[in-house]
């Protein structure tokens, strides 16, 4: 989230699209109801299903699963055509005026630079033109045909309301009603917030859908303001934290990235990451990359990390490609992996294509599962009726199942979707012999370290030299670890303006990332968390909920990254002179000397607005990008592509047999391409989702939740039910090219057939949540049906739009 949950109450319009906040985030959704009740806000819900969120909406617009870019592109076209944009904002805070290179092109759905053999783009043409001063060329008059504004306008001029209706099946009148409501928030004193979740992410075009939403918000000037923003709801309690902490194939902590194998030395690694400004007097905060990196390496390898060894640069593994989940299971399936550790994760259920998952896991030599609950993954080898039809005697994998504590049995911090780090306290001992994840990881590490110390082995250095400064090495405490990632001074830290002045004494906790140094004098495990545990103590544990401004900025409640900032890009809530666009919802302002207000300024605190520094300090341009440059794998502007399993077989943007149908850069392996179904055999569009009564695959172990929603079902509309001769409560069989499940049919008015380019398309709702373990009635894992296709940028599987056939069981 750029903003945070309570801030939603400041919105004048709420767009819930690609999410179902009322159902999946009910307690956060309450702030939408607050906005409706106290600001007369309106709520628009765009969803293939009439969800619980839709039930609360002032306007519900149905949409075909996977066509959100067409919809959002249509809205952008409406705004540009009707000039309903926030002019001051886009002119000064975005790349509207920047001129794009002449060799950038877009033809029939493909951007310049595509290599069809590799399914990849060469992105070099997706860039701005540079002037002789090295800075980006701009045309403030917006007349240049290749300025971003004109390219954008041209790109989305194709997305007419008629086309939107044709692709999305959204009735034109409803679509235009939505456009009108949205357009009204281009006023500087009116804000729309967008709330989205995996309904946008889990598509082969997921990242671009989200980008389209962000672009829409930029056009309206709704980023950085109270009641605005792009708000990812996030589905797991600490998935924000674990991503912040970089627990992904290609990341280090704080969104630092691992080196690619071509980057053989530190300088080669650092230069492209510590980008210099692309426009005059811009902050380009990533210029400080080196400080973050060095402080991290000092936290991990302590005294072993020195300037001479480039702070243990060689200790870091180097990437040849990204080893995301889909890639890993592909390798596993081809026998290239031997071991796997699943920590509190149930991939057999959570990853697409269960049959492939089971086959892949069966090729492992060993699997270690750490979990508080008995997961399906830990028992992928075990036969459970028709729900897991495997033969244990043919599966060689050794499996370890290690019991862990749950939330109630440990201290620590979790990061909410509003980026708040909140400390929690242990209330009881774990049951039986269960242990915390920290203890287990420490024990495994110490075993390995001792083995490497005793026996040697492959490159033992990073293991034996890992800093392990914990009072009881087998039991690092949450407090010790939190202090470590927050960071401390290893030597006295000096004031850059006055090198004789010590601003932080050796051994003290740092107050924030401004105190980080790249000379080895600071240690910080995660730069964006720097200051969470300062000399003032554990700020994540703060519980002062006072809200003096009345706009929900409880600054002394817990701690938000970065720097306890509650609304990201809040400099953009003020005009070029530093005055708030909407004084009633002032976050910060310029008082002539400094920036201040009810939020921590996302800006240089003493930077005079007259200097022209842009509000988007993390980009080298200092402004937000409509034109993504090389930031995306699949194009600088979002473009509608059909889901990999399309009910049409063509892209209505171009017509039958023409143009690019699917995302040309999406993640798909050859075998999985063969496992894609066609509309003739699998005519119905399925989408998977959560129900409000359940949480993922956990709550089927929870008795009350099992009582509230005991049995697996699928949702179909009345028309489809009639067509296949099914009534509510009957059993149906749902099959895809990859497998089939049986479930009870919930027949509902809430799912209506859509007319897509003249043909009727039925949507089928497949809730996840059931499986072969738990106290709820046993069911099929919903991923039996889903395709092994991933987004081009994040490799997120396409769970939200695929083809099935529903029949009477």
């Amino acid at each position: 989230m750029t903003n945070h949950w309570v801030d939603i109450k400041n919105a004048d319009l709420v767009l819930i699209m690609g999410g179902n906040a009322a159902e999946c985030h009910p307690c956060g959704y309450k702030w939408v109801e607050e906005a409706k009740a106290h600001r007369k806000a309106k709520l628009i819900v765009v969803d293939p299903r009439f969800t619980r969120s839709a039930a609360m909406a002032d306007l519900y617009v149905p949409i075909r699963a996977g066509t959100d870019i067409a919809f959002l592109g249509g809205v952008m076209n409406y705004l540009l055509a009707n000039d309903a944009i926030h002019h001051d904002y886009v002119a000064n805070y975005t790349d509207f005026s920047f001129i794009v290179r002449e060799d950038f092109a877009f033809n029939e759905g493909l951007y310049s630079g595509y290599d069809p053999a590799k399914h990849k783009y060469d992105k070099s043409s997706w860039d701005y033109e540079r002037g002789e001063d090295g800075f980006v060329k701009a045309d403030p008059t917006l007349q240049h045909p290749r300025c971003v504004y004109n390219l954008l306008k041209q790109h989305y001029s194709r997305y007419t309301p008629e086309l939107v209706e044709k692709i999305c099946g959204s009735p034109k009148d409803k679509f235009l009603e939505a456009c009108k409501l949205i357009a009204a928030t281009s006023s500087p004193t009116s804000a729309m917030t967008i709330m989205y979740a995996l309904g946008w992410t889990q598509h082969s075009i997921g990242s671009q859908i989200i980008r389209a939403g962000a672009m829409l918000q930029l056009l309206l000037g709704n980023i950085g303001v109270a009641g605005g923003g792009m708000n990812a709801l996030r589905g797991h309690s600490n998935i924000q934290g674990l991503t912040d902490l970089g627990l992904m194939s290609n990341l280090l902590t704080g969104y630092l990235t691992l080196p690619n194998q071509a980057e053989q030395d530190y300088a080669t690694y650092l230069t492209p990451r510590a980008q210099k400004p692309l426009r005059p007097n811009q902050m380009s905060y990533w210029q400080n990359y080196g400080r973050f990196y060095v402080s991290l390496m000092k936290a991990w390898w302590g005294n072993a990390a020195t300037a001479e060894n480039s702070w243990c640069y060689d200790y870091l593994p180097k990437l040849d490609k990204t080893y995301d989940m889909l890639q890993v299971y592909e390798l596993m399936g081809s026998g290239k992996m031997n071991g796997y550790i699943c920590q509190g994760f149930n991939p057999i259920a959570s990853s697409p294509h269960k049959a492939k998952m089971t086959a892949s896991f069966s090729k492992l030599k060993f699997l270690v599962v750490m979990d508080p609950l008995a997961t399906e993954t830990a028992e992928f080898w075990n036969h459970y009726d028709e729900y897991n039809e495997v033969d244990p005697s043919t599966i060689e994998t050794e499996v370890f199942r290690l019991p862990t504590s749950c939330f109630a049995e440990e201290d620590g911090a979790l990061v909410s979707s509003g980026r708040w780090l909140q400390w929690h306290w242990k209330g009881a001992e774990p049951p039986g012999e269960a242990k915390t994840d920290i203890e287990i990881m420490a024990a495994l590490y110490m075993r390995l370290r001792d083995l490497y110390k005793a026996e040697g082995g492959a490159f033992p250095d990073p293991i034996v030299n890992l800093a392990w400064p914990y009072a009881r090495p087998g039991h690092p405490t949450a407090e010790e670890l939190a202090k470590e990632y927050s960071g401390k001074a290893l030597a006295d830290v000096m004031d850059p303006k006055d090198p004789t002045k010590v601003i932080r004494k050796a051994g003290e906790q740092l107050a924030g990332f401004a105190e980080l140094r790249d000379d080895g004098s600071t240690s910080c495990g995660c730069w964006i968390y720097s200051g969470a545990w300062s000399e003032a103590g554990n700020l994540m544990a703060r519980r002062d909920n006072s809200d003096p401004s009345g706009i929900g900025q409880t600054r002394n409640w817990a701690w938000a990254w970065p720097a306890n900032r509650r609304v990201l890009y809040n400099r953009a809530s003020c005009d070029v002179n530093g005055k708030p666009f909407n004084p009633a919802l002032k976050l910060i302002s310029w008082n002539g000397k400094t920036w201040g207000g009810v939020d921590v300024p996302d800006f240089k605190a003493d930077e005079d607005p007259a200097g022209g520094m842009g509000p988007f300090i993390m980009t080298p341009e200092g402004v937000a990008r409509f034109f993504a440059r090389g930031g995306m794998s699949d194009g600088p502007f979002p473009e509608h592509y059909e889901p990999f399993e399309t009910p049409l077989g063509y892209n209505p943007l171009w017509g039958k047999g023409k143009g690019q149908v699917q995302n040309p850069a999406a993640r798909i392996f050859d075998d999985d391409r063969k496992a894609l179904g066609q509309a003739d055999a699998f005519p119905h569009v399925a989408t998977t989702y959560r129900l409000t009564e359940h949480f993922h695959f956990w709550t089927k172990h929870v008795r009350i939740a099992a009582i509230l929603q005991p049995q697996q079902f699928v949702e179909i509309g009345e028309a489809l039910a009639k067509e296949i001769g099914v009534k509510a409560g009957d059993n149906v069989k749902v099959s895809s090219k990859r497998g089939q499940i049986k479930a009870v049919a919930v027949v509902t008015k809430r799912i209506k057939p859509l007319t897509i380019d003249g043909r009727t398309v039925h949507t089928v709702g497949v809730p996840i949540h059931w499986g072969f373990k738990g106290v709820a009635r046993a069911g099929y894992l919903a991923n039996t049906l889903t395709p092994f296709v991933g987004d081009a940028n994040t490799q997120t599987p396409e769970f939200k739009a695929f083809l099935v056939k529903v029949e009477r069981a």
Partner: protein, 196 residues
């Protein structure tokens, strides 16, 4: 004979009378005084925590047995929303409101278990045995498959044959130490649940 039957008759018909006199003597069942159920949290220990499900991150209050005295062994018996929390203000969704059944789920794992190749059952093992076996398997695989340099001489120091999937609900601290350990081993096949 008639005398007897008469007495019997009297007995039967007199039962109602007898009943009434018994009642008058005070043998009627006490009509319990109508009071509300006792408030069950009176002196329970309150611990503040965060709901482990979605990222709204609602504050919760956990009520545990005992007052924290050394001899009192806590067990959480009730959970409700934290009214001080700025986001949820005491509310909880159906999942949060049923957290107590997660803590005490019959699906909770209690001790380390091991499944041997081709076996169809779990066997209980000790933590020591589990750690030893796992560490040995990890080292064996790493030593056998660690790539220090590629064929074309690039230093890569990576280990690709073992992967780690990190949690989505473990604390920052657990995540941080997991990352630290995993990268020190050179693992790249590393992911979390951000996408699913």
């Amino acid at each position: 004979m008639v005398e007897v039957t008469r007495r019997e008759f009297l007995k039967v018909t007199g039962m109602t009378l007898a009943g009434s006199s018994v009642a008058m003597l005070g043998f009627a069942p006490e009509t319990a005084i109508a009071e509300v159920r006792q408030f069950k949290l009176a002196r329970a220990t309150e611990t503040r925590n965060t709901c482990p499900y979605c990222s709204v991150a609602c504050g919760i209050l956990m009520y545990g047995l005992g007052d924290g005295a050394k001899n009192a062994k806590s067990s959480i018996f009730h959970i409700e929303g934290d009214p001080d929390h700025p986001v949820n203000r005491g509310t909880l969704c159906p999942k949060g409101a049923s957290l107590i059944d997660f803590i005490h789920s019959e699906g909770r794992l209690l001790y380390p278990e091991y499944r041997a190749p081709r076996s169809d059952k779990w066997q209980r093992i000790s933590w020591e045995e589990a750690y030893d076996k796992i560490a040995r398997l990890l080292k064996k695989d790493r030593d056998a498959n660690f790539v220090a340099k590629t064929a074309d001489g690039l230093t890569v120091n990576r280990w690709l044959t073992t992967g780690v999937l990190a949690a989505s609900a473990s604390s920052n601290e657990a995540g941080y130490i997991t990352h630290k350990v995993v990268r020190s081993l050179g693992i790249l096949a590393f992911d979390n649940q951000a996408r699913v």
